[in-house]
Amino acid sequence: MNTFMAMPLKRNQTPFWIGAVVLVLAVPGLLGGSDYLIQIATMMALYVVLASSLNLIIGFTGMYSLGHGAFYGIGAYTSAILAINLDWTFWVTMPIAGILTALVGAFLGLATLRLRQTFLVFGTLAFGEIVRILIMNWPSLTRGPMGIPGIPPPSILGFELVSSTQYYYLILVFAILMVFLIFRLYHSRVGRAWVAIREDEIAASSMGISVFGYKVLAFTIACLIAGLAGAFYAHFITFISADQFGMNESFLILTMVALGGTGSIIGPIIGALILIIIPEAFRFLAEYRMVLYGALLILVIVVKPEGLAGVKGLFAPASGARRFSFLRSGFSAECEKVEGAK
């Protein structure tokens, strides 16, 4: 079965898959479908970006982040506030949103990435909640629980993008660009350093890789991309509020990566597509579709722990002996302590 999935780095396949996904994304636009379908397609493209960026942290570098929704939110709020209060154009506020989010991400990374895995999970989870609570309780800047309505749409050469089809293509281009960027990073010296860290931090450091530096780098780039996605989202949906970027959002993105596959380019894309389609396709089941959603997730985790098209699962052992590494004691734990203290 699926021998090609198990082969590492078959370069000729990934562009093919990306092409196929592009085609799928382009279908609603080509068919001139209903606004409803096009909106769903737009959300798919956005979530492809979000899941792919989280995959940089989780799938490539082997760290955890349960606060990705918060970075998405920081990007969205930054761009919205600048656009409304200062009347700046989207093409200025969007990059600023990305850069600010990256700075926040780098700061959080510098503070938390020396933590061992379990503590990093809690650190990022707490950070996500802090951001949400901050947005709720800073009305002079964020309008608190009322949210920010009336975010202006972007314009290209004085021509405002108002129809959903136009917006769909804008976000599609953005998504392709971001996936391409991640693809190139992955297949490079930087990507190899990330994967090396995921596989074995001690071996990576004795190969001359600055473990902490590359971790912060992965975290920062992932946050930059999430922040950009947030800006695109805010100007697309025109109304944002704190509850859109809470814990649920972080978990949704995480689930997309886990379901689609960690550590590959195509995995998070598949995950994002499936998890946007399912709630829409099974609307007739009302709340029961969440049961379906849960059952699917459990099935995948049991049958294919690395996700549908992933390289290595979240809890996969590096080699037979290293299963349940958190229970390790003695010498190697000592090594990691020392490593962590550096």
Partner: protein, 253 residues
């Protein structure tokens, strides 16, 4: 002397794993560190590569103190190592494992990776060629696209050596390279390590395979309970009373 270690000491709680060990390694020699299980050999290696820094003592590499440097800085100085409990990048191809070993020699970063500029392309080509050369040298060329985790044990050890060599080290630290190898493979390893010395590399090796050690080592240091109990060439060490005692127990009078 390319590497000079004086009074190196490392304690884990009440246990002194490395106790005031002095060691001098001459350039372009094969220097072995042997000793019974738990003698502190691996800790000694971890001290040299700073994976577990020593508590006290000096490590002088080409006249420069390195005991306070980070593992990546030590790697950049030209010291590479393998691990007793193999530490390959399991979910990475054989080729990428070795290419990762070249990390130190190149500078391409985020912008190079995205733009694929001339420098990036040159560096990728160079590192790929060097990696392929080393993979062929250890006989894994036809397995270069396999995940490292799918290789049999002996080949994983070879791959680890190839990865260490990819950083073009001056000093190679081998931690039990023959463990899990059969006789033919050990014989091959023997030739391989000799060839490395001919190429101008200095090798510091921990090994339990006595025949291999006696065959290749120019100089042997024996540790027991963290203390250096003997040093010399193969014949001298074999006839040393303290060494015999450490391995077999006291001779009855």
């Amino acid at each position: 002397m390319i590497l000079e270690i004086t009074k190196l000491e490392k304690k884990f709680g009440g246990l002194t794993a490395v106790n005031a060990v002095d060691l001098s390694v001459k350039e372009e020699t094969i220097h072995a560190v042997i000793g019974p299980n738990g003698a502190g050999k691996t800790t000694f290696f971890n001290n040299i590569t700073s994976i577990i820094p020593a508590d006290s003592g000096r490590i002088i590499w080409k006249g420069e103190r390195i005991e306070r440097l980070s593992p990546q800085a030590i790697s950049a100085k030209g010291i590479a190592r393998t691990f007793q409990n193999i530490r390959l990048f399991a979910y990475m191809s054989v080729l990428d494992n070795v290419i990762t070993g070249t990390h130190n020699h190149y500078k391409s970063f985020v912008w190079g990776a995205i733009s694929r500029n001339a420098r990036y392309r040159r560096e990728e080509k160079e590192s790929r060629e060097l990696a392929m050369e080393l993979i062929e040298k250890v006989g894994l060329a036809d397995k270069r696209h396999e995940y490292a985790r799918n290789l049999p044990y002996g080949e994983q050890r070879k791959l680890e050596i190839a990865r260490a060599l990819a950083s073009k080290p001056k000093l190679l630290l081998l931690d039990e390279p023959a463990a899990g190898m059969n006789n033919a493979e050990t014989e091959e390893l023997d030739q391989f390590i000799r060839a490395l010395r001919e190429d101008g590399l200095t090798v510091l090796i921990i090994e339990h395979d006595v025949r291999l050690i006696m065959s290749i080592a120019d100089r042997i240091t024996v540790l027991d309970y963290g203390v250096k109990i003997a040093e010399g060439n193969a014949v001298e060490v074999q006839n040393d009373d303290r060494v015999i005692e450490a391995y077999l127990g006291k001779r009855r009078a």
